[in-house]
Symmetry: C2
Subunit: 249 residues, 2 copies
């Protein structure tokens, strides 16, 4: 196993950082790493906004559900789907690309492009000994996030990525059994395998939480995700995404 794969397999989210900011060179290298990822039909449908102003970071931390590590970290990146430049370029050439920009396909492309770029950045950061954590919480209130970052039409922030020097190293969280996630040739619907794998996994996760919390928490995965998905999931997004120009048709 090489160093890169060791880094990848050793990933854990870090939620506590020292005050040491990333250097300009580190930030540049991380953004270049992000840009190195594949991009659908070369359209490069994303932008990254680095947030350094402390007051903005504090506001974003509050919006994302009072997560202190959104404020205190080495650097906060916000990944956005971005078709603003494509829109502007086409308009200046007198061409109409409106139908494409509003379609489900481009929404999917932009989300995938942004996520591929972000994961390159995450792996690059971890290979440098830095810690990372994705911040889906910014989707709690994208209207405020857009105002704060002054994003134009056809730009939609998707998630944050905090990077920094770890103050605390968390434990690695066990993933679903490989056989549950990886199928060959057809999607396997074997009921017995399905339940066996989940029962084992629930035990693993229960012990994981028990060890980590000195017995205070013993959630199973199936309970946890059912509880999570029973809650309302940012239902304003359906409308808001459309207001920004995406996912309309």
């Amino acid at each position: 196993m090489n160093q890169t794969i060791e880094t990848i397999l050793d990933h854990r989210s870090i939620r506590s950082f020292t005050d040491q900011p990333l250097t300009k060179e580190e930030i540049r290298l991380l953004v270049e790493s992000a840009q190195g990822a594949s991009t659908s039909s070369y359209i490069q449908a994303y932008s990254i906004i680095g947030v350094t102003e402390q007051s903005k970071k504090r506001k974003l931390a509050a919006l994302a559900g009072d997560q202190p590590y959104v404020e205190k970290n080495g650097h906060l990146f916000v990944f956005c789907i971005d078709l603003f430049r494509h829109h502007k370029i086409a308009r200046e050439k007198g061409e109409d690309i409106q139908a494409s920009l509003e379609g489900t396909e481009i929404f999917m492309v932009g989300l995938i492009d942004a996520a591929l770029a972000a994961q390159n950045m995450a792996v690059a950061a971890e290979s440098m000994g830095l810690g990372i954590c994705y911040i889906g919480g910014i989707r709690n209130n994208l209207e405020k996030v857009c105002e704060l970052l002054e994003t134009p039409e056809y730009v939609l922030p998707l998630f944050g990525l905090v990077v920094g020097h770890p103050a605390n190293r968390s434990a690695k969280k066990p993933r679903l059994p490989l056989e549950h996630v990886y199928h060959e040739n057809t999607y396997s619907l074997d009921q017995e395998d399905f339940h066996k794998a989940l029962t084992d996994y629930d035990k693993t996760i229960s012990s994981y939480y028990e060890n980590r919390t000195n017995g205070k928490r013993t959630d199973q995965w199936t309970e946890q995700i059912t509880r999570h998905l029973k809650q309302s999931q940012r239902t304003y997004l359906n409308q808001f995404v459309k207001e920004k120009g995406f996912n309309k048709s």
Copy 2:
């Protein structure tokens, strides 16, 4: 610069592979690498289908626009957004999570989860000296792809990832100027910077194609993406995604 970042910055899509299949151990390591990626709220909303049957690969290659490397490669992975298991678990627990599954938020989460996992796999593969190429072309006809892979409700194939031993090494494709993609604190709308950066980039891309094609092609980036986005972009997806249970509200 460490080895991992060198690998990331040296990425290029490979579209020609030898016949040598990946070993079972390589496939396992790649899937484990994919699983190592961050996942939103631990929901792990994706599955990966490896395709080894030659007749299926041939059909997928045809569906994806007759791309020979979809058929001839070391291994073909298809990444899917997958909430089928969550749906099944909740139903067995007598809980209703329908509203969440149908929402825009979960559609975004699943796309991001799948893409983070895929990019981990891509980087891991390249670190092993293998080549990769994403196959967005499977979205040309997802109905047929779903039939072929026998995916249930709440599973939607998103893209393929071919991995293999490179037969030909392509050139690295230049990305947008970093300053165009990376902003600080607010999204920069400076008109002069915008045009200057794009004019320079167009020249870079034009030379890139000229060199690669012995002068036959001299496209600029802005022309290329405008031409691309003027075309209709898989407009059936809006409806089809909903039929699979996603992005409805």
